[in-house]
Subunit: 231 residues, 4 copies
DNA sequence: TATGAATGAGTGTTCATTCAT
DNA sequence: TATGAATGAACACTCATTCAT
């Protein structure tokens, strides 16, 4: 087990500038008030922490590395988070919430149920599978047992909501005659299972055998809704 | 985050006895040769290590706790394993191999493909889901990225084999007309996905909402093979 | 070992008001000039620092707590003191000097030597024993070895002067026949010893066993001057 | 404030040898069993810790320095003590108890009360004043408020016992007519005050003005018992 | 002048690994 | 072979001090 902060996608210094610049076209830090700066720093810490936690897991991540990657001093982390544990917990919340928000902002329920589900899957594909957010899911699976509060939060905010939404869709599909298998409504997990598998696969086995997640999800939907005649 | 070695499957007391005996009968090791004793110790260490690694993850597990749980001295571990990392790696091999062996020892290919798959699923249910072995799968998902060699091993010995076997079954099912959906053969992952989800669910969310894995798998097979006429 | 700033004599709220006011009345500082304000701030810092140093000792005291208690920002302390060490040193001077001044302002040398000594003891009782100043003495005893300059200062300004004054009184008492024991003049420490013990006792053991310092000092003086016939 | 481990009276290496040698005249470590070695190490740690705590106080003492001075690794300290605080507390107990034992082993109560008191004072002079033990008393005065358990222990084991013993002696003296001042029995502190002052003086002001503690105590006893006719 | 966010050296504590017994 | 005391590198967290505002 080597111990390098791993390649930072964006070097700290560069990123500070990037952030500052993103506000104004100047070189100075004109438009950023005290509060803004603080928020930026916090965001930088959250980003860095996510990278490191994903790469090494909670216990093996060093705050030193997070600080270095975020381009702040070690002490600065403690201005934003009580300790390593609560940083991890808040981090998960911070990152998960907007994803959930975006995913649950379903497109207008026009068209067939299959269209709805496909829209959702497409969103999921873009927003989660193969992204940092996907890795975060794997991280939660990994650390869940040691962070009951995280597992609870994840179950409450993501899993149970997702299950409910899926069940609603399935029932709609059954009512409309798009789905034959009535029992499916009891196990919405079946509907999402391949998507979850895709997430984990990309994290673990992408380099052994790439997986065309989009196509796989299509095949799975064919299984549930019947193969599309045209397409 | 608490820090207790958790209930030891084999109480340390056992070890006290062992000691006492070796003392009483001079040097004699009645029913077990030197080599056997060594193998027993190694097995005890492997068991203890698995418990601890599953409960805390690699980085957070203390060798002290493993030793205590195994009923050996800390130094003894180093007589069997080079270091913590290789212990983890060997441990995974040691535990995974017999499971794979047992799972791949499929019953004679009599009967329908669905029967074959169901036999397999039933085995998997009994041997993996909700067991220590299931937790081990979660552990591999968790630690995989930090242990490429483990991920490699797991992919080679379990995943790729499993995928191949599933693909063969699917193709057989298609050939025999039991499975309609031809594309399924491209993504055997779909066949296993609910089983994997069940494994993870039991590890993480069983206490939030219990999952009847067996029934879920049945529904899933209905989806693939069509609902059973009689049941 | 707990870590609470302890009850602040002057609540931080005071400071909020101060701020609010300075805001309301533009820049005006009604009843106190700039310089006065600065002096007040300095005094607040000294008071707060004394409380904290007495409660925790030099090393364990946090400037943060001093600032909070004084109702100023941490940086403000550095406008008045070079660093923590010199703050401690100046603090001792600042607090000690007026006490010495008041104590040495002996009442007119009328009456017997015993009356003089009693007046002095009475003063000491009121000004030192069981007060913050008494705790400061204990603090000096505690930190003396690590702050030679403080020990030096204390010896020079308090101890040696006190010893001289006591010796003078003793010699006067011997000359006037009030004190029998001639050798006492060699060890004026004996005269003050019970007073010092009282100071320390109140700091450390008051809650185990209260001590009537006044009565003890009276008994001690009886020992030196002989018991009072009347009274 | 400089930060040097201060001069170790006996350098670590030398001392380990000395200890080992004290057992046999050889160079090896023949006579020291595992347990003996452990006890020696613990003693070395206690000694080193006492030096450092006395020199710097609790908070400012670094475990690194204690370890270095004791000639052990930092981790070794934690084999003997739970943490810094309990090390300090146990240290005080460890050092105080034998002193109390020796001091309370009074010589046979033959002769006058004054003889008894003088014997006691002489013991105290030899065992405490101007020794490490004396410094320890100052340390307790210094840290008492932050270590209630230490203050409690000290009060219980040393102060209250000492006060009782002194009171008994005083009452005996009064009964035998050696002591005139009856009230003295209410304040045995007066009897010990100069001894305590001597302890503190040696710690703080010895270099400013040396104090002949023995002579001072003699003068003080003269005050209480009357001057000795012959001397 | 006053602030308090930011810094980073410093320290108590843990724990994988070694090795004398 | 087995032990567990000893080691010391590593790491989370603190806090005196600085400095942009």
């Amino acid at each position: 087990m080597t111990r390098k902060p791993a390649k930072a996608a964006t070097p700290p210094a560069a990123r500070a500038n990037a952030k500052a610049n993103s506000h104004a076209g100047e070189d100075a830090v004109p438009a950023s008030s005290r509060a803004t700066r603080a928020a930026e720093r916090r965001a930088a810490i959250v980003d860095a922490a996510m990278e490191e936690f994903i790469a090494r897991g909670f216990a093996a991540t060093r705050l030193d590395d997070i600080a270095k990657r975020a381009g702040v001093a070690k002490g600065t982390i403690y201005l934003h988070f009580k300790d390593k544990e609560s940083m991890f917990e808040e981090l998960v919340r911070t990152v998960i919430v907007p994803v959930v928000t975006r995913l649950t902002a379903l497109p207008p329920p026009a068209g067939s149920v299959r269209d709805l589900v496909e829209a959702f899957a497409s969103n999921f594909l873009k927003e989660v599978i193969g992204t940092r957010r996907g890795d975060l899911v794997r991280l939660i699976v990994a650390e869940g047992p040691r962070f009951p509060s995280v597992a609870d939060f994840y179950y409450r905010e993501v899993v149970s909501r997702g299950i409910s939404a899926m069940r609603a869709l399935i029932e709609l599909g059954i009512a409309r005659g798009e789905i034959r298998q009535k029992n499916l409504a009891h196990y919405p997990q079946i509907l999402v299972a391949p998507a979850m598998i895709a997430v984990i696969w990309q994290s673990l086995f992408a380099r052994h055998a790439p997986l065309d997640a989009q196509d796989m999800l299509r095949v799975h939907l064919d299984l549930i809704f019947g193969e599309r005649s045209t397409t």
